[in-house]
Symmetry: C2
Subunit: 376 residues, 2 copies
Amino acid sequence: MIEFSPGLAGVPAARSKVSYLDGEKGLLEYRGIPLETLAKKSHFVETTYLLIFGNLPTTAQLKKFDHDLRIHRRIKYRIVDLIKCLPESGHPMDALQAAVAALGMFYPDKDVKDPEIQYISAVRLIAKLPTIIAAYARLRRGDDHVQPRDDLSFSENFLYMLTEKVPDKVMSEVFDTCLVLHAEHTMNASTFSGLVTASTLSDPYTVVSSAIGTLGGPLHGGANEKVLRMLTEIGSVENVRTYIEAKVKANEKISGLGHRVYKVKDPRAIILQRLAKRLFKHLGASPLYEIAMEVERVGEEFLASKKVYANVDFYSGILYQKMGIETDFFTPIFAMSRVAGWLAHAFEQVKDNHIFRPREIYEGEHGRVYHPISER
Amino acid sequence: MIEFSPGLAGVPAARSKVSYLDGEKGLLEYRGIPLETLAKKSHFVETTYLLIFGNLPTTAQLKKFDHDLRIHRRIKYRIVDLIKCLPESGHPMDALQAAVAALGMFYPDKDVKDPEIQYISAVRLIAKLPTIIAAYARLRRGDDHVQPRDDLSFSENFLYMLTEKVPDKVMSEVFDTCLVLHAEHTMNASTFSGLVTASTLSDPYTVVSSAIGTLGGPLHGGANEKVLRMLTEIGSVENVRTYIEAKVKANEKISGLGHRVYKVKDPRAIILQRLAKRLFKHLGASPLYEIAMEVERVGEEFLASKKVYANVDFYSGILYQKMGIETDFFTPIFAMSRVAGWLAHAFEQVKDNHIFRPREIYEGEHGRVYHPISER
């Protein structure tokens, strides 16, 4: 009999070739290629292809994939109308979950095992998620949504749809690398929830909608929002040391520092720190950035001995904020990137599928009597 | 090291007090009370209370719960407008997933651990799912949706919203017992997917939206649709024996016969058979019902030695069809009932929560080289 492990910690739930993580070494590989290399040399569209289809694309493959992604950016006016029905005060992750579930209704090709259907639904989801996100961001404040532009790159187009301004090269490149960094991270809760949904052979839109619901939970996505709130609360570089000391003394978690699996600095944080340097040099520093630098410095001083370092969430929020993105859109952007990993795992699952039906340990009573309501 | 078990078969994923199943004895208990008893003496609203809150309600508790469910049946006009944006040709399960995700955006109380929020979101979900389902059924064929009526019982009101006619006592009672039978069934894929989503502390609307996505997959919900298709294909009582013989000879599965865990007749099938007798006596027999009776008779003759008997899906489709419900609404009705079980398990999960993060077995390569695109 297998012992119960809460949250299935340590229990294998799938065989996978999508990504590999060594927390001791600080190594993360997508399809065997170190993330560090991809962050430097690749871009989000190519990395997505690598994750989903297993290999880096050839020139012809990339050309076709990029072209298909560009021409599928538009969303139907009915999806826009649907987004207009959503309350402005809701969380964008719920809006995204609803819109993606609805998206699947427009495409009858549902056989998730068919490679052609996998290809076209991956194209649609990756291409349309940014459009849905940007549309909700604009519609909720009463502005018209901005039609996507086929002539812009993936990341340029998203920032353009959000702001009506084509971003400069530094901004769009930094943003694109952020997407590369968030595209995949082995078997986390949202990926696993996508697997469970995929195991009943639900279509890819439904799978992604489930995964979005799981990513939206406060224990999963949204950590970078918390970092921003903390930096704002600290308020100035001078306050950092007192804040950290108090937290360390009280043995409390400091947002953005420490990670369940990394015992060295999160490789994504190292890259993000470099990106932050580049972006802030280009756009000018901000008080929050100065505070963040100091938090990391003081944090390492106190916590490096405990193997607690800055993680991926530490810098990404500051970067997105500097780009003018509203805080509650950080997790939708995470989703827009992680959809690559979700689909890669889901397609792996259905290739050799077993529906997920774990056991439960029953701890309740037996043979209870049904007392009529007058006797309760 | 724990061995890999595909689909986590036999692996415990939770401790639970919600329901208990003994497939050898054909026993299913909700909170320790045999389903057989509940089907005879209880009704869906009371059973839902039992499942979610752990005990049969007192008179005062039931009065309040029933009242709360009645006054929360209406859906906001924005949800109706949202449903109008959905394509008429889509599957109602996708419509339900989208509408439920959107529903959560109207209610900011998101702390799924708070018992008061658990209560009110359970009320909203149980009360509004039927309204959403009936609205889509009517709107997709161009009819106006029917406003719910507070003076009708849960099941009367649903059938009324669907058909504009208040059903008679036999029909609404039979339908209500069907809901009791489908409300819970230990750790299946949709319940598990709800658990995974709940484990990131996503709100109950998001949890239910995920579970709906998983239930909608062809390997999970939808089996009773297949039974109906089979009966229609057989066409007449005379053809039954030949059909069954051919299937048995070819060692092929017969829709609606056999179950993964039950080695005797599914206790729910026994109750459904009784309900079918009652309904068809009341409304007059139909050819499909006669064929079904014969399939079960001949099926038992050939397969009882292999412990293959009629399961829950065998009769439910015939019943729903006789009530005038369209085939693709069978699974939404399943969802409208199973939401009780989903919420019961999700609330159990968050009480002693561990985020689901299983392990994966990496079978891919390491240290692959990033070749520039010109060299691929």
